[in-house]
């Protein structure tokens, strides 16, 4: 077993299975290598992202120009969903449902944490690969199957699931209540069950890897914050995803085998259904027991990526490293006991509302600590304005803007009035949608040289960031105002209420921002795919970063390091340390003589 193209291939004490000479299938398709699996996750995530974003543009056009005929609707939705190019109301609900499902699970969970957990955990802790390469491959292919099923569900009789991404029963259980609750909904549930299995395999692997395979000297308090964030994300996933699995299975039973877990006393289409004794509120509890931690599953990896990139590009240590770890853990713990704030007006006991208000507002404390620590890290730096850095600054900005309104939504008294309005849409899109996307973009720009051995174009990156930044605010900021005016979400058209006529203009404005912003994602796509093949060849450590992934060779090899595994002597944030000649000190650099041991 030899590693080609590298002179340091002696001393292979580990018994790793090398596939360098494997065929196309073992190398690119059923690869066991974490770096290849990361790329598979990323590209699948990007493809799903395109589908999800195009869906949002379609329903935004319907909101801005209600019941107008568009050729693009005819092309993309077909005669059944958009006869004569006018979107049907069922199609609208199907689009918002699938947009939410795809973006939350397939792009921001699998695409973001799947990509960067796979890429960064082994590389940054100094491991040859994941604890189980096979489980890792299985995890990706289950994810792939679930994505394919979700896409197939778009084309079945009755259309895809249409009861909102939360798929609350009874609407999601009764095909007679909405056509999307037929075959499309069954596929949704099956796809989600497979997705959860995939996510659990991935998460178990990440946790096992971080705990067991850290290289010599890599103590938990020398881990990069990316690894801390990805590790904690995996733990949250393990704790909460099985609960969604149970909810999905019980719902499947209610739909297919006539059980009554979530259904009771229903009269539909002229007849009383047999269901008795179940409760939709139970489903809401089970759903949000995952659903809320899910937003942290989405945002924590972005926070980890941001911590790493801000420190590297500001050429400064991350401020309050231990406080950052504590706040990640605090957020993770609190995230599992706040789900009820999605249910203040669900009819649950108001006493529970009080408890959940209390725990929810507590989560603002670690979040505030993180935001201020980012700002302090940026303060008095020597900031290298790479596109990845701009996306991180954007992350902090939208995280603050979106996070602050959480104080209103988390307060049960105020939530009564803005619950399920556009205020909620504005809040969560800024705080977890856009922020997490920014984290993902930042990660892609930063680790592209590591993934593909080439550089992305800088100027296209700048254009991409600035247009996206303006458009993201342009889309979601005005939504706060129409939400405060009481406009409910998931309305196919606002024309049924003269009360909302005032918001005709603002809806057009939002849609125009959305169209422009989405169009400029083409710049990113071009840059990404062009650079994979024709970008400039990267050097080993282009951003002069401290963490271990930049000590591996540019060309990917199995086992990551050609020789011995690196030994770690310091934490990853010794940037601009006084007394050192360079403004960075890689983790595998021993302390130089006379250097002050300030940290860890």
């Amino acid at each position: 077993m030899s590693v080609e193209g590298h002179e340091n291939n002696h001393d292979h004490s580990h018994d790793h299975d090398h596939h360098d000479k494997g065929n196309f299938f073992t190398k690119y398709v059923f690869s066991l290598d974490h770096k290849m699996i990361a790329k598979q996750y990323l590209i699948t995530g990007i493809v799903m992202g395109i589908v999800g974003i195009v869906m949002s543009l379609l329903f935004r056009m319907q909101i801005a120009w209600p019941e107008e005929s568009f050729t693009v609707f005819k092309w993309l939705l077909g005669d059944k969903m958009a006869p004569d190019g006018v979107m049907k109301n069922d199609a609208y609900l199907a689009l918002v449902t699938m947009h939410g499902t795809i973006m939350v699970f397939f792009v921001l969970t699998a695409g973001l944490s799947g990509t960067f957990s796979n890429l960064l955990i082994p590389l940054q802790i100094g491991a040859r690969d994941m604890a189980s390469g096979f489980l890792n491959m299985l995890s990706y292919w289950l994810f792939f199957i679930s994505a394919v099923l979700m896409i197939i569900s778009l084309f079945v009789e009755g259309g895809p699931a249409s009861s909102g991404w939360t798929v609350y029963p009874p609407l999601s259980a009764l095909p007679k209540a909405i056509p999307g609750s037929g075959m499309g909904m069954t596929l949704w549930l099956v796809s989600m069950a497979i997705f959860i299995a995939s996510s659990l395999m991935g998460s178990l692997n990440y946790v096992a890897t971080v705990i067991n395979l850290r290289t010599k000297g890599m103590s938990m308090t020398r881990l990069p914050l990316t690894v801390w964030a990805l590790f904690t994300t995996a733990v949250i996933g393990i704790v909460s995803f099985p609960v969604l699995l149970s909810a999905a299975l019980l719902l499947l039973f209610d739909r297919s085998f006539g059980t009554s877990f979530f259904l009771s006393d229903i009269y539909l289409a002229g007849e009383v259904l047999h269901y008795q004794g179940g409760s939709p509120v139970l489903y809401e509890h089970l759903f949000w027991f995952l659903g809320h931690p899910e937003v942290y599953i989405v945002i924590l990896p972005a926070m980890g990526i941001t911590s790493e990139i801000i420190a590297c590009n500001a050429r400064k240590p991350i401020f309050g490293y231990r406080a950052m770890i504590a706040s990640i853990l605090g957020i993770a713990f609190l995230s599992t006991i706040v789900w009820g704030h999605h249910m203040f007006v669900s009819g649950m006991n108001p006493f529970l509302g009080s408890v959940f208000t209390f725990t929810t507002l507590l989560i603002a404390i670690p979040s505030a600590v993180k935001a201020f620590n980012y700002i302090t890290t940026i303060w008095s730096g020597n900031i290298q304005m790479n596109p990845s850095m701009l996306f991180c600054i954007g992350f902090v900005s939208t995280f603050i803007t979106g996070g602050l309104t959480g104080i209103i939504l988390g307060d049960s008294t105020l939530d009564i009035n803005v619950h399920d309005t556009y205020f909620v849409i504005a809040h969560f899109h800024l705080v977890m949608g856009i922020s997490a996307l920014y984290g993902m973009f930042a990660g892609i720009y930063h680790w592209f040289p590591k993934m593909f051995g080439r550089m992305m174009n800088k100027n296209l990156g700048y254009i991409h960031f600035w247009v996206t930044a303006v458009c993201a605010y342009g889309v979601f900021f005005p939504m706060h105002f129409i939400g405060l005016a009481g406009l409910p979400r998931r309305y196919y058209s606002n024309t049924a209420f003269p009360l909302f006529d005032e918001f005709y203009d603002v809806n057009v404005l939002i849609t125009v921002f959305a169209l422009v912003g989405a169009a400029f994602q083409l710049v990113f796509l071009w840059n990404f795919f062009y650079s994979i093949f024709y970008g400039k060849k990267a050097t080993q450590n282009p951003w002069r970063s401290n963490s271990l992934e930049w000590t591996t060779p540019v060309e990917h090899i199995h086992g990551n390091w050609p020789g011995e595994l690196p030994v770690v002597y310091r934490w990853p944030y010794d940037y601009s340390k006084p007394g050192l000649p360079d403004d960075f000190a890689p983790q595998n650099m021993p302390y130089v003589e006379g250097e002050e041991q300030l940290h860890h």
Binding site: V72, N89, D90, L171, A177, L263, S264, I266, A269, G270, E271, S279, R315, K316, F319, Y321, V345, G347, P350, T357, L361, I365, F372, I375, T376, I378, W379, N382, I383, M385, I393, I400, T401, D411, I416, N417, V418, K458, V470, G474, F481, I482, A485, G486, P488, R490, Y491, F497, P498, E502, V506, L515, L522, V523, W526, K536, K537, P542, K577, D583
Partner: protein, 388 residues
């Protein structure tokens, strides 16, 4: 016309992206193919993007002001029509004010620091990795502020949600189904008769158990009328899927859940007429009517019917996705003086009378269901049209 405009916009964007790729090529001219320094931010990039960061701060501020001026009439923080609404609005104003200040301040720090620290060759960043005092500061400040907000919120929440039914209240049932609302008044005994969907038959739309003595004086209505100044306890039920009864003007909302009864209580403080006379509402209505007049002109030009002018009414909207016509599931709410309310209620027949009359009319034949069996989306659509 619009689609033409969009097509033009797409074409223009396509051209723009094509031009951008030209820039992409140009950036590579003259540099060695292996020289990656062109893809890493240099001092010039730091400078330009530093200024852009600062400009972006300006954009956020200006856009905030623009939104406040254009869309900031804050209908939900103004003119509450219920007693607890004042408390809610008060808390809302405090929270909003706080958020506004923190937003302005932290965005300034973030963008200003990014601008100020833009990279210069040869400069070393400040090595500043820990400061317990600072961290304690921004842990303790949120703790104190949030404690205040939590306490205020919880007191208000308890006042709103815990209802003492011993006091003099009016009990009304609001019943939701795809895609409309029914109202049931509890009559002189102020107690609703038992109900279950299994009793639905003919005019007994909400499935009242007519053998329950409490049901004898129950009355049904299609509009929600409420007396001013009296505590109303709304009891919600749903016939089919989840719905949410959203009464924005009263700062009230509660889900309607099949198989269980939920409730929300409030005291209406302004009659519909009094609300219509409020300055803010007059302004809002005239603004909406201007918009509607403009749209009507366009419609007439296209040969369609003009829009009706808008007059203010309280509304109950469905705020939980419930199917195809979710967007149009609404009911008018009328608040009147107690005298007007009592007179209106007196005129309504009791459900019992209605059921007897129906039985008499249908005596020979068994009662036939009005609702047709829905088997596919076409039928759902048809029902939606009828409801519309």
């Amino acid at each position: 016309m619009t689609s033409l405009l969009i097509l033009a916009a797409v074409v223009l964007l396509g051209v723009a992206v094509w031009q951008l790729t030209k820039i992409f090529d140009l950036t590579q001219v003259g540099s060695h193919p292996d020289d990656i320094s062109t893809e890493i931010a240099n001092e010039k990039d730091n400078n330009i993007n530093g200024y852009l960061t600062f400009a972006f701060l300006g954009f956020i501020y200006i856009f905030t002001i623009f939104c406040l001026v254009e869309y900031g009439s804050f209908p939900l923080m103004d003119n509450p029509a219920s007693e607890h609404g004042k408390e809610v609005d008060n808390l809302m104003w405090i929270s909003m004010g706080l958020i506004f200040i923190v937003q302005i301040f932290t965005q300034f720090l973030l963008h200003y620091f990014a601008f100020q620290g833009r990279g210069v060759k040869g400069r070393k960043a400040r090595f500043f990795s820990d400061n317990d005092k600072l961290e304690a500061l921004w842990t303790i400040i949120p703790v104190i502020t949030l404690s205040g907000l939590i306490l205020y919120g919880l007191f208000a929440w308890n006042d709103i949600m815990f209802v003492d039914e011993e006091e003099d209240v009016l009990i009304v049932e609001v019943y939701a189904k795809q895609f409309g609302w029914d109202v049931r008044y509890s009559g002189t005994d102020n107690t609703l008769g038992k109900a279950n969907v299994r009793f639905i038959e003919g005019v007994n739309l909400v499935g009242v158990d007519m053998s329950d003595p409490n049901a004898a004086d129950d009355k049904m209505a299609k509009e929600l009328h409420l007396p001013k100044g009296k505590k109303v306890v709304l009891k919600f039920r749903s016939q089919d899927v989840l719905h949410s009864a959203y009464l924005p003007h009263f700062r009230a909302q509660m889900n309607c859940v099949p198989g269980m009864v939920t409730q929300f209580a409030f005291v209406p403080t302004l009659t519909t007429d009094e609300m219509r006379a409020k300055e803010g509402i007059i302004k809002k209505v005239s603004n909406i009517n201007e918009i509607r007049a403009d749209r009507s002109k366009e419609l007439i030009a296209k040969g369609e019917e003009a829009l009706d002018p808008y007059t203010f009414d309280y509304l109950l909207l469905c705020n939980k996705i419930c199917g195809a016509s979710h967007y149009n599931m609404q009911m008018k709410v009328v608040v009147e003086t107690p005298e007007e309310f009592n007179a209106w209620l007196k005129e309504l027949p009791t459900l019992k009378e209605q059921v007897m009359a129906e039985k008499a009319a249908n005596a020979p034949a068994p009662a036939v269901q009005e609702v047709p069996a829905v088997t596919d989306s076409v039928a759902t659509e048809a029902i939606a049209q009828v409801v519309k």
